[in-house]
């Protein structure tokens, strides 16, 4: 296994673990200030700004989202405070200077009112080297069923 792939895999595992264990504030620190978190409806589009998405979060919206999830005020977060996700099938798509683009699969399981539900997705990361690790420039979560109906999602995919 190449070093780059191992480094990226370690970062993505860390990110997944933080989200599963509600370490949302630490998760915010994994981002570059100009980073964008996107959950598109249209799996084909790359023009997220001019398209309606499930989520399109720049820095301010990310921190508002985290504040909402941690506030305890949102009833939808109380029933799905725990997720279990697994990321795999990692492939490095491109490396350009200090920027790496990678793609992986992600399976998230939630348990709402006793109903176990999964959200499979392809996730694309654009990472920038920072110190001895990476920071996220872009994370795009393309849900397998993005084009159909979802249920309410009270956490971060």
């Amino acid at each position: 296994m190449s070093t780059l792939r191992a480094e990226v895999a370690a970062f993505i595992d860390l990110e997944a673990d933080m989200l599963d264990f509600n370490q949302y504030r630490e998760w915010l620190d994994l981002w570059e200030p100009d980073g964008v978190y996107v959950v598109p409806i249209d799996r084909e589009t790359e023009d997220f700004a001019n398209t309606l998405n499930f989520a399109y979060d720049k820095a301010e919206m990310r921190s508002l989202r985290v504040a909402r999830l941690l506030s305890g005020d949102a009833i939808s977060t109380q029933t799905t405070y725990k997720t279990v996700r697994s990321v795999s099938r990692l492939r490095i798509l491109a490396e350009d200077g200090d920027t790496v683009k990678a793609r992986c699969s992600q399976f998230i399981a939630e348990n709402r009112h006793g109903n176990l539900k999964t959200y499979p997705a392809d996730v694309t990361f654009t990472l920038r080297r920072s110190g001895d690790g990476f920071r996220m420039v872009e994370k795009v979560v393309r849900l397998l069923n993005a084009d159909h109906h979802l249920s309410s999602i009270g956490y971060i995919l």
Binding site: L64, A67, S76, S151, I153
Partner: protein, 425 residues
Amino acid sequence: MTACLTTRAPEVDIADLVQDDKVHSSLYSDPAIFEAELDKVFNNTWVWVGHTSEVPESGSYKTAFIGRQPVIVSRDRKGDIHVMLNRCRHRAATVCEGKRGKVKSFVCPYHGWGYALDGELRAIPKPEEYQGVLDKKDFPLVRLRHETYQGMIFATFNPDIQPLEEHLGGAKKWIDLFMKQSGGYPLKVLGDHRFRFPGNWKIQLENTTDAYHFPVVHKSFVSSLDDQTSKIFDFLDGPGFVEDLGNGHSVMVMIPELVDLDANLDAPIPERFKDFAAELECEGYDDAQVRRLVRAVGGSGFNLNLFPNVACSMAFFRVLRPVAVDETEIHHVAIGGDGAPAAFNQLRMRLHEHFQGPMGFGTPDDAEAWERVQKGSRAGDREWILVNRSLGRLVTSPDGNTAGSVCSETGMRAAYRKYKQMMTA
């Protein structure tokens, strides 16, 4: 027009279950009532199927549902709109899948019967086998009666129903006001959020004119707003109102200053839209245009509930589709201006994402509350759902309608009165 046969549900006596001040819990969970609703409500009135901007040119189509029945909305070569059952006349396969798209014709995937954009049956493989058996002109896709108002397309299985404009009646004035939010450009659908919740469709219908839940369920949304905007959303003690518009329709005005988006154009630009205004100025829009776009971008200050399946809800169309007695699909349809500045439509989509849809800051909490209603309504066998708030404080509106305070249950009572009338007809 081809007559359409639909299955008759067993007769349910609904008269006792829907009263002026309360409705029985079984309305949320009795499968027989649900079947009767599909038959007597959804298959019997004007049902919203789309907006003209979703089928912008010849060959455009979108799929939709009337109750449980799949339909296609298409635009033919001449530019005319058709609403047709999504069902091949041979052995019933759907001839069209996907939300929206563009096609030259509808070709059935099973045996290849081909239909034109207006539904005419044009091609049958091995036509010699049908000689003397079937004439193509007798087997178009089943077309439904449809009419539009302000670009909103409604269709019906009931050939004898009153014209759409009569059906909308007192709601038309509010639809006209709602359409002002595209900022002087033709209104255009920008996309939609789709989600389901395990609960009855009427729970969502009620919610559109339920201001009472807002500060409770949407506390975390309000906390995410700047001070000026969160004050605007603190409307429960304000001068807003709910008005019964007749025919099951109602309007809930939450923010009276935002009823007419062409008025007050010289008001100061709200803090949260200052960057947007600056961006428009940079792009060369003059002061009048900037003010109009800023005023329109956040949407209207009211929810208009159109019985039974669509609402003009502040800044979007809310569409509901009954899937089963305890399963409902909701679409939150984002809208903007066709040809409007990119910054305008972008901001409208960002505002939509902020509250709406399965990952918004508002909708998941609504869905959680509704799921809890469905669950709790199974408890007890003599229990009722109360819709009596403000019954002692009703007034007559300037338009001559029954009205109550912004947090009254006037809109729910309006919907249930029409519901009862249709269910007992």
